[in-house]
Symmetry: C2
Subunit: 180 residues, 2 copies
């Protein structure tokens, strides 16, 4: 018995911050905010929107102000309630699958230089990610919008910074510790 359906709650969460969004908007929003720790595909979003509307957690209406044919959704009271309930449940601890670490673990069976090559690549990637997140942090922190969600956005950005830094340091350290 699992029951998570996190896609539904990701949608409810975004609609709690901003209403009158289309499926397309929702995707954009997620990509531009939480992409580094969460993502949804259209294949998930559209069926989910239909389901949530059927359940009365969101309401959809055709957007007349737009020239395009788009349907925008907003949270209902019940939707907000359900979201709050889900947010209160302790999050499931993820069972991550890290292909890089698996390849490092089996390093002894790899061709010479493979592991170093992978480590150099991730080091570069995480250093770039770190720089980018630090820039975003400065921007967000400087934005004068004192919305209630600001502190939470900042917290997740800092999580990304901590993780990118830890991964970079590990990669650097490991490159030094490996022979050849």
């Amino acid at each position: 018995m699992k029951r998570t359906a996190t896609t539904d709650f990701a949608i409810l969460g975004v609609l709690a911050q901003e209403s009158r969004l289309s499926g397309y908007d929702l995707r954009q929003y997620l990509e531009q905010s939480v992409a580094f720790f969460w993502s949804e595909s259209f294949g998930q979003i559209y069926p989910s929107l239909a389901r949530l509307e059927r359940q009365g957690l969101i309401t959809g209406k055709v957007d007349r102000e737009s020239a395009r044919q788009r349907k925008v959704y907003s949270l209902t009271g019940r939707g907000r309630q359900q979201l709050a309930h889900w947010l209160d449940q302790t999050p499931l601890s993820e069972r991550p699958r890290n292909e890089l670490l698996l390849k490092v673990f089996f390093g002894a069976a790899a061709p010479a230089g493979s592991v170093r090559k992978h480590l150099k690549e991730v080091l570069a990637r995480h250093e770039a990610e770190l720089a980018q997140l630090q820039m975003i942090e400065r921007e967000v922190a400087a934005s004068d919008q004192n919305s209630s969600s600001l502190v939470y956005s900042l917290a997740t950005i800092r999580a990304g910074i901590h993780l990118a830094r830890a991964r970079s340091e590990w990669a650097r350290e490991t490159l030094n510790s490996l022979p050849e």
Copy 2:
């Protein structure tokens, strides 16, 4: 077009380190070594073993030395070759889904105290994990076995340590930064 089939390679990798293992053994091995960044269920392992044997990458034989009815597998030359090839491919960057961060991000819509509660829990969890990994690191480092895979085991353990430390520090810092 994706093509990963990582379960297969996880099995090949373990068999490269130790031969004559049953499906049950493989599960045990994975749980006791790479569990914090990789796991496989029986529902994956047994079909995968059958497939790998059909492809000639491993060979299985009924274990006569054991009183139990078990079939043990070993890597073939071709299996070792395939593994080496896979290990050389740059690992796919994971698209992680972190439910905790999602709940933090939507914190403004949560009941009062929810986020703090979650953060306290993960802080405790990661601090315990950190202590455990540090212990394991000392044990493994002290083990006189100078096997070629030792350095790679240590590297993955240190990855766990870096990550657990980063997550703990982030949680502590975030608890301080949140109001109330």
